[in-house]
């Protein structure tokens, strides 16, 4: 199945979002916010979300996790 991930055409065997994250080497779903076809998914939706042909998927990573000293 062909999808677009972070702007790049990508082939995937995964159907469940969780399997797709593993395939895309996202270490933990806690590290990303996910936009599917222009909509940011709720975290509670991750488990029930499936990937379909032509989907546009964007990963937004949390960036800047220090301990309080700028």
């Amino acid at each position: 199945m062909n999808v677009t991930v972070n702007g790049k055409a990508t082939e995937t065997e995964a159907i469940a979002l969780g399997a797709f994250l593993t395939e895309q080497r996202v270490k933990s779903p806690d590290q990303v916010s996910i936009e599917l076809n222009g909509r940011i998914l709720r975290r509670e939706e991750f488990d029930s979300t499936t990937i379909s042909e032509g989907d546009q998927i964007e990963f937004f990573y949390f960036m800047g996790g220090g301990r309080g000293a700028y």
Partner: protein, 271 residues
Amino acid sequence: MELTDTQIERYSRHIILEEVGLAGQERLLSARVLIVGAGGLGSPAALYLAAAGIGTIGIVDADTVDITNLQRQIAHRTADLGREKVISAAEKMSAINPDITVNTHRLFLQADNIAEVIDGYDFVIDGTDNFAAKFLINDACHFSRKAYVHAGILRFDGQMMTVLPGETACLRCIFGGPPPPGAVPSCSQAGVLGVLGGVLGTLQATEAVKHALGQGTLLTNALLKYNALDLSFRKVPVRRNPICPLCGDAPTITDLHDEALPVCDLKEARP
């Protein structure tokens, strides 16, 4: 405001630009920009904004200069080790441009002091390195209707977005809130290429200048993703999220609060 002959010379490369001119330079000299964090992002932003003649620049940081900072925090020198970052940065800014006023705020922003600090400024640069500060700045700018620019850097990646509160997508529209403690590595754990602060910090400064001038298009409703290894910049469109807990249709965040700072024990993680 009437520019002196020396100022006309100093800012001549700005003034010659049709989009700036004398009137634009006067706007810059009247502008008030707050930089939160005198670190990797804040250092280059502070130096360039001082050089550009942003008339009033506030700089917030409670920390002192540490040797691990010097690989990227270019406002500080080896001789500044142990000194207050805000003082060290302010000295360099005033040395570049004695025209400007630099306000030093030696504190960490919290829910009970941030509104008072940002009140005196028109635009805020988030140069912080932790999620508690990042979401606090996002929220405070929302409640104060203050334009601000977010940025984050980690390893070889950077990201950035400008927010016009109530009008364009905010940090919580994308992320909701901070990640669970330990889910995301920090720069001290995962590393960061020093020049990334320069790339993203100067882009943040550019947004501040554009905002002051009223020129161009701000990086709103889009998250800029930068990767240094690929030398790729992607401007990813985002939009206001109806379920955003801050600026969505049924907000659950109605006043300022401090997010917990994570206890970092992550051994290995990378985006």
